[in-house]
């Protein structure tokens, strides 16, 4: 046996994963299965979502959060989505049901994978653990296993209770928005993490948008706060969840959300001109996240930041 002595000569650098949102979106292929993190009107990785739309991503299978928001609705309306997996898509009082989602589902433009919050979590958990399925009792006897044959009813071999077998749900990518990250892919949330830790573990690869990039020493100050380690790509994205809130940084932009809801309602009613005008204005018009932010004046952004303390 020959073991060569080790040396620091020719030592490779630790891999840095900081990329632009365009480079991140290019890593996701047409037809990929993509998990999008966040929850409701909070913590969505919008620079990458908008870049996916700009690069005309197609035929994505999109797995939303347990309460998916209008970021998924936008991807559907922009024609990027073939199949959608989420137990809810909307924005509560702003839009109880996402308009694009509703229109696409009613007209067969997207395939809808009927599920519940914890059937979905069980499936992601199974994927994360490398199991074929996990059992769950929710949804037993409802319309859900009738509408979605992926769920297989069976009886618990120990106690005989009726369960559903929830098959592992594999994803190519998870896209998660965090408060801060370093250039090596370590991300820390600025508030609630919702389902993001599980979402990131279920996917083969992970990319982050981060409100700010911090030195690695900052991450090591509190490793308990690190929710996602060793992501494959990190995008620096101040106000990266806008128009949604980013926990610990700013609240949602109500005016911008209403503008989106009104444009997507036009889409649902067949007014494609109004919808495309919105996309041109806010999604495909600005070439990147920096240009997107430049369209929002500083006073408006400061107001969103300050309202966190209101």
């Amino acid at each position: 046996m020959k073991l060569d002595p080790i040396t620091r000569a020719n030592r490779p650098k630790r891999q840095e994963v900081l990329v632009s949102e365009e480079e991140a979106a290019a890593l996701i292929g047409d037809g990929d299965v993509v998990i999008v993190g966040g929850f409701g009107t909070v913590n969505h990785p919008m620079p990458i979502i908008r870049a996916l739309i700009r690069r005309k991503a197609r035929n994505l299978t999109v797995i939303g959060a347990a309460t998916a928001g209008l970021e998924i609705d936008l991807l559907i309306g922009a024609g990027c989505v073939k199949k959608v997996i989420a137990p809810y898509i909307g924005a509560e009082l702003y839009a109880p049901i996402g308009h694009c989602y509703r229109h696409a589902a009613e007209n067969g433009l997207v395939e809808v994978y009927e599920t519940t919050e914890y059937l979905l979590y069980s499936q992601l958990d199974a994927a994360a653990r490398g199991l074929g399925f996990l059992p769950w009792r929710g949804g037993v006897g409802t319309s859900i296993p009738l509408l979605n044959k992926a769920y297989v009813p069976f009886n618990d071999p120990i106690n005989g209770e009726p369960y559903l077998a929830a098959p592992a749900l594999h994803a190519d990518w998870a896209i998660i928005h965090v408060g801060q990250a370093d250039i090596y892919g370590n991300g820390q949330h600025g508030g609630a993490r919702f389902g993001d830790r599980l979402l990131s573990r279920a996917a083969e690869r992970v990319m982050l948008t981060a409100e700010r990039i911090v030195p690695n020493e900052e991450i090591r100050k509190n490793p308990f706060a690190t929710s996602i380690a060793y992501a494959d790509a990190v995008v620096e994205a101040p106000f990266g969840s806008h128009p949604f809130a980013s926990h610990g940084f700013y609240s949602e932009d109500e005016d911008a959300l209403r503008e989106y809801v009104s444009a997507s309602a036009a889409y649902r009613k067949g007014d494609m001109q109004a919808w495309h005008a919105y996309l041109d204005d806010w999604i495909t018009g600005p070439a990147n996240h920096r240009e997107y932010l430049a369209k929002l004046d500083g006073e408006r952004l400061a107001r969103l930041q300050n309202s966190v303390h209101a």
Binding site: G90, E92, G141, G248
Partner: protein, 272 residues
């Protein structure tokens, strides 16, 4: 005193039915149930374990004035929290303690935080058997005439906790003879098929409260001021009997309204 709004009436009756010490889960898109749970905690039930919204924390608002948040994920709610955890963790500890005994009403004592006793569920359609549908409305050709928001976590939570179904419209489109899809079973679904959990306790509408008789059928148990059983019959899509104990629901008291308006809903969200 300003006349109570229908949303205030709904919040107050839900609060009255919460028992001190219970574990209450109030989910998304529910300013009425948010207000109800916080009102109960401030009034008669300081020991409830209250999970508010999707941000996943247990809150204590007994001694602080609050505002009704616009969304269930509002960061500002974290100021009321005593513990915060990940959303999937809620479900990870949702096991029914004691197995089948739990479902038959003989709940063994437990201090498991994350198991709920009661929660609040919506429905785009609800029928007289207490089945609730969040999935959609069928078109005549078998497709979807209306795509609903999705079943969210209702089919999950109902396996361990008792739901109150509440709807914000009382009409024949919402309260139907038979739901097109089932997101959550009424009481008979659980009993007849031995499914885990049990059915809803109430169907609460802006006009009345339906409970369920021994056969699992909705019965009209209470009407709010200004609504007659005849009005309910005309505007409900399913047949129902009058509960022998039917009554007109007591109006909100001055104290209930003062706490609701002064310490919880200071912006008057429930009055718009």
């Amino acid at each position: 005193m300003i006349e109570p709004s229908w949303k205030e009436r709904m919040a107050i009756v839900l609060a009255r039915d919460i028992v001190d010490g219970e574990r209450i889960i109030s989910g998304a898109h529910t300013e009425i149930s948010f207000a109800a749970a916080m009102l109960a905690q401030k009034m008669h039930a300081p020991n409830i374990k209250l999970q508010l919204g999707g941000t996943c924390f247990l809150v204590n608002v007994t001694d602080i004035p609050v505002s009704l948040p616009k969304t269930s994920t509002d960061f500002r709610m974290l100021r009321w929290a005593e513990i915060a955890y990940d959303h999937m963790e809620t479900f990870m500890y949702f096991g029914a303690p004691g197995g089948r005994a739990y479902y038959t009403g003989m709940r063994p004592p437990t201090n498991k935080y994350f198991v709920g006793d009661k929660f609040f569920a919506g429905g785009i359609q609800v029928d007289g058997w207490g089945n609730a549908n969040m999935i959609g409305v069928k078109a005549k050709d078998g497709g979807l005439a209306f795509r609903g928001p999705g079943s969210i976590g209702i089919p999950d939570i109902v396996t361990v906790a008792t739901p109150y179904i509440f709807v914000t419209h009382h009409d024949r489109r919402t309260l139907v003879d038979q739901v097109d899809f089932i997101s959550m079973h009424g009481p008979n679904g659980w009993r007849e098929h031995d499914y885990p959990g049990h059915g809803p306790k109430w169907i609460l509408t802006p006009r009345c409260i339906f409970t369920f008789d021994d056969g699992g059928r909705a019965q009209l148990s209470g009407t709010f001021k200004g609504t007659s059983p005849e009005w309910v019959r005309e505007n409900t899509g399913f047949q129902f009997e009058l509960d022998p104990d039917w009554c007109e629901i007591a109006e909100p008291t001055a104290e209930e309204l003062a706490v609701l308006r002064g310490e919880i809903d200071r912006d008057g969200v429930l009055r718009h």
